[in-house]
Subunit: 239 residues, 2 copies
């Protein structure tokens, strides 16, 4: 086994607990490495996959940051999510054997390529992996339900507050600060995700800053008063 092959193995990956199931016994753990065929580097701005492209694999993000988006026939674009290390993308392609959205790297990234045929084959052999795949897909469905709530019921500042809290929480789960972050996306991309124009996003940032809830300097954001931020999108909690 070459050093490179050791690095590539799920069994040695420090992100395993994020993207792979737990509960494997040491013997079977090596079999798990068979899901990942190769790794692939994606430079900032490049597509990992595009709408209409043939679906062959799921991708586990090792490093970097992605956005996924769909576009309507008349050219309007909707960002459907932002994904970071340990998260799985490409699930949209399963239903029609073609991708129906675009995945674009927001910074230089590296992904593990998991041919879906491998995933399905090993899933049949290992119920714990099967369950894990089901959970990942279910989690995505539930996440999108939450976005629908956001887009359908919340006002601009509520949306941004929920967005920032979600982002910092996911970063914190990966060992980063729970109060500071550097955004990897533009105001326009945030706006697209939240169903707002970039000017509205910018104004909401300024408003939070004026109110002393956050500190903003371009992409850098520091959450000064997390409780106030939570109250923005859940006003009834203040009693």
């Amino acid at each position: 086994m070459t050093p490179e092959a050791i690095k590539i193995a799920c069994s040695n990956c420090n992100l395993r607990e994020l993207c792979m199931p737990v509960g494997f016994n040491p013997g079977d753990l090596q079999r798990l490495d068979e899901v990942v065929a190769t790794r692939r580097r994606v430079k900032q701005g490049e597509h990992l996959f595009s709408n209409g492209e043939e679906f062959t694999s799921l991708y586990a993000i090792r490093t970097g940051f992605f956005k996924t988006s769909v576009s309507s026939e008349d050219g309007r674009e909707q960002v459907t999510g932002f994904q970071m290390a340990g998260e799985i993308i490409g699930l949209d392609g399963i239903v029609s054997d073609r991708h129906s959205c675009n995945a674009i790297a927001l910074e230089d990234a590296e992904v593990c390529v998991m041919p879906f045929a491998n995933v399905e084959e090993l899933s049949r052999e290992f119920p714990v992996l099967q369950r894990h795949v089901h959970k990942i897909m279910s989690r995505e469905i539930v996440r999108e339900n939450g976005v629908m709530m956001l887009l359908g019921n919340m006002r601009a500042e509520e949306r941004l507050a929920a967005f920032l809290l979600n982002l910092v929480q996911r970063l914190h789960a990966r060992g980063f600060s729970q109060s500071e972050m550097v955004l990897r996306m533009t105001r326009e991309e945030i706006g697209s995700y939240l169903g707002l124009k970039l000017e509205t996003v910018s104004r909401a940032f300024s408003r939070f800053s004026e109110d002393g809830i956050i500190e903003v300097k371009q992409r850098y954001v520091r959450i000064l008063d997390p409780d106030a931020l939570k109250k923005v999108f859940n006003p009834d909690t203040c009693f």
Copy 2:
């Protein structure tokens, strides 16, 4: 085998092609019947499952019409979908072993109860079923991507036009008219799904009616000019 048991069997169900995979050979087809444990009747207005309830089963709709919804802590409700015969609900529960949304019958309904343990077990045995389960979940993810586009980028009339076309298309696939339908949901429920208030939905209906695009009488809707309706939410197509 009792007559009731014959009726219950997937292998004899005329909806099978909608909710079950094709390509089973006759011998294995009988095994497929094992996914369905029982059937369950749900009266109009009753919950099939509720937020927080333990997840045990997926449900295939035999007859009737459902809505699913999520609610925020401060009581706001968002309808996340409308489901009809042949569609599968309950996928939201897999990730946390609890349902995170509510499923409510909009008319008297009957569902096939498919314990998820059965689904997973048979999926391991039959790759064609495994693939089918994956496709159903992927389809739901893609559908929600479309709803995000709707909520994030479209104006009121575009949303309603897209909604009506989607609904009539699904009904048509089930053998109903491709121009007429009777809505099973209120204006408020449509509005919740589309991120609009009921008055806005009502006005959009009236507008379409004035323009001769549809004929509306309460819940009854007839599409007079499907092309005009398509142009509403894709204005660039008119050249």
